[in-house]
Symmetry: C3
Subunit: 351 residues, 3 copies
């Protein structure tokens, strides 16, 4: 990836900065990052996933970040790490620092005079910030964000663009929120009365802990009475839906298109794979892994992997499975009959 | 929930206003709302879901809204209701009235001179309203909304923020539209011609009836030729996708992440649970309930519950089920054989 | 659909312009478009789907676009086409040309002085365009769009409204992007290190080919190292999620609510039906059709139809299927026993 010029750095500087074991010349200069397969001699690659080990022998990278066990197979310089992917992330951050716009309030932003905005914060064009908001040090609020009255944004948090933060919601420090995210819209609260729906006011807030990251177009509803909560270091991918009063434990990661219904509690260090759905009012304990496109309808009190996703197969074969599913009731009866030594009437007629 | 000061009210005032039966002192003052488990003596709680009945005996709430049958178990003051959840909603609305911004057009809004905007309407900053739009009495259009030419918004409707309304679309009265909603984008109409896709112009509109509520980041496409329609009091949660020419009957409620494909008609008083999908060109009759994560591929002409969601289980156990699914064809053959009195060849060899 | 006045046109003009065979008077005038069932005598309808053939005989349309084989059943004028749906699309485009706003930059837009914007482009209000962007000829950027620095938008491309384009991303010519779309947010890249998640910088871009169309609220993440790519004429419906480093081949169409996980390659001329999910790091070959709500967990190297969606049924019947699924392990054992000639203990006791 060469779209943006990157400042060069020597392998020696990287080894010192990250406390890595360098095999290669101290003064070898790296100017960018690439994959094992595509890297050229001035680029750094990494190997963290064994699926890519076969590409190591033929890499043309200038150097590779890898684990000690892969060192002997590496034909070029290498930086040996106990966690190559994490060290890769640190190097990538160093070579591609996040673009921080200068502090200050863009003239095309609309800031309520009752809002407190730190002088070190950067507020982009077409931003709207309501009364009584508190915007912390070095916060970046990108173009088109809407912050309703009374919301608080912690230090070093970044709302990339077009984010909505509802009234009274609280974001911690170093949170990253991607475009199109809606935090603090009303939860889906309805009472049925005399043939029509009556809206139930949603008077809770959303509280988001430090170091969370929220993917594009994800929605997190405010609580009905108490708050919807993400503890620290929760990571949500794109198009995730978090309903009112959900509570998500620290360090849990949730992949794209997952939906979590109201009042469910998810533990810490859980991982929920893409497009899964979790019903409401459940308790999921710590360290649960939900596999892709699963439907969780009951609470889970033991760590481990759970799922109900069905791998696709050729449609004709799948249609046969569907037909068989419809026959299982009949099979139960037939199996019982043959266990009892009674062949079917039809079979009797033949034999 | 105490983030925002709430004006107090006495139980006597509530009993009179909502025609409830009060057990407790007329002049007892309530200053806020909370759950049975967390409420303190100046707060009101409610009991509508039997799952929470065990919390009633130990509640420290000042008073509880509940059904007559629960009155004897209530250790504190209570307001007896024939529909506790609906009366709770009314009380919550009274104690937390929706924030209504003052009428007028924000100077940072862009209004086409050919648009008609009622003097009582409130138009926020960074709003864009096109030619020939009609914005009704007391409408609230929050920051960042885009209303294309010719759209009409009925009285008392509220677009919270960052909503898109496509050209010519019609919203009724008292509609609530949450942030990120897109109403009236083009439907997915494509004709395949000479190896490429040709866009089919989408010339219908979206018409939304009175008292509908549309959740955050939901999308409702305009019709291909005729209109996409939501009748009155339709309630959509977040991230729902409504394709072109869908027609949804009055009082139907649809939970988060549901997708409904083109030209399907949904009846009145239906309830569709989260993450379900409904194929195109179907007819779903009134009073149908679809359970969570189900796939509806055929029309339904009888009220009742329908579903195809599969509850997750421990992954190892689920993998065994998947293996068994793949064996069903083979089992059908084997079951037929034993019914006919023919043990398997392998079995023969053993016996 | 009569909301917007349409210029009339004669059948003769249409026949000449599209090279169609006209059966009816050259000078018969059509003023609008409608369905077979609803069209009146000044409107044109079409017949492309055999499901609607029964409506042909009783249509009151002025004329119908249809295939040669349907001509004899048509009671009114007709235009005979070898591809009625495609020709309908062309006629609809002619009668309802896309609304092109006049060229120029709206005074309420914020354009970085380092951006290049073609004089023929139209930039709407509340738009933000960053440094080093290149906006091509006749591009239309609707209200509220945010274009980060270094992005390039090809000629005749249209961003309808409230679209986000991340830094350095590239869109081809004649691309249509609907409201709420987020192109080029960070991919979901995380390294686990010492009990917490570490963000992996996402340094790739998104590249979108000519003639693509992207539906409302769809998200396409930037690549982790290399780019996320849509080749030409890819068509995405609403609320589709495309993760980092996905590559989608030309002419592939993807329906609403589909999610595709990271680094998966989809071939050309594929069709993926609504709400399906495709796991990461897979290869799907050309001309694969995935049916609705399917889960693709393995690569596919043969064209054809694949699926795993389960049609819903009455809930009580579906519950029985779920119970039977849980019994399959037990059934396998019992079937084996009867094959071996051993009735069950329980059966023995009875017989």
């Amino acid at each position: 990836m060469t779209a943006h010029p990157e400042q060069g750095i020597t392998l020696g500087e990287l080894a010192v900065a990250l406390n890595l074991d360098l095999h290669g010349p101290d003064d070898q200069r790296i100017s960018g990052l690439a994959t094992l397969a595509s890297a050229g001699p001035d680029q750094l690659a990494f190997l963290a996933n064994p699926a890519y080990t076969p590409q190591l022998g033929s890499t043309r990278a200038g150097a590779v970040v890898l684990a000690a066990g892969d060192r002997d197979k590496c034909p070029v310089s290498c930086l040996v790490s106990s966690n190559p992917y994490a060290d890769w992330a640190r190097i990538a951050e160093r070579l591609n620092p996040a673009r921080v716009p200068p502090p200050g309030i863009h003239p095309a932003a609309t800031i309520d005079p009752g809002a407190q905005v730190a002088a070190s914060a950067s507020i982009g064009p077409q931003v709207s910030i309501g009364a009584d908001c508190v915007i912390g040090e070095r916060v970046v609020i990108g173009a088109g964000c809407v912050i309703e009255p009374g919301a608080q944004i912690g230090a070093d948090t970044r709302l990339v663009a077009q984010v909505f933060i509802g009234h009274g919601c609280l974001l911690g420090n170093r949170v990253i929120v991607h475009p199109g995210v809606v935090i603090g819209a009303d939860g889906f609260g309805l009472a049925f009365d005399q043939g029509s729906w009556l809206k139930v006011p949603q008077i809770g807030r959303v509280r988001i802990g430090d170091d969370c990251e929220i993917g594009a177009n994800t929605t997190i509803d405010r609580g009905a009475i108490e708050d919807t909560v993400l503890e620290q270091d929760v990571r949500l991918d794109n198009q995730v839906q978090i309903a009112h009063n959900v509570h998500i434990g620290a360090h849990t990661a949730i992949a794209g298109c997952v939906g979590i219904a109201g009042s469910t509690r998810i533990g810490r260090y859980c991982m929920i794979a893409g497009a899964s759905g979790i019903a409401g009012h459940l308790e999921i304990c710590d360290k649960v892994v939900i596999t892709a496109m699963s439907t969780v309808l009951e609470s889970i009190d033991q760590p481990g992997q759970y799922g109900s996703g069905i791998p696709s197969r050729p449609q004709r074969s799948w249609q046969r499975v569907l037909v068989r599913l419809g026959q299982l009731d009949d099979w139960a009866r037939r199996l019982r009959r043959v266990e009892q030594g009674h062949p079917t009437a039809k079979t009797n007629a033949k034999t």
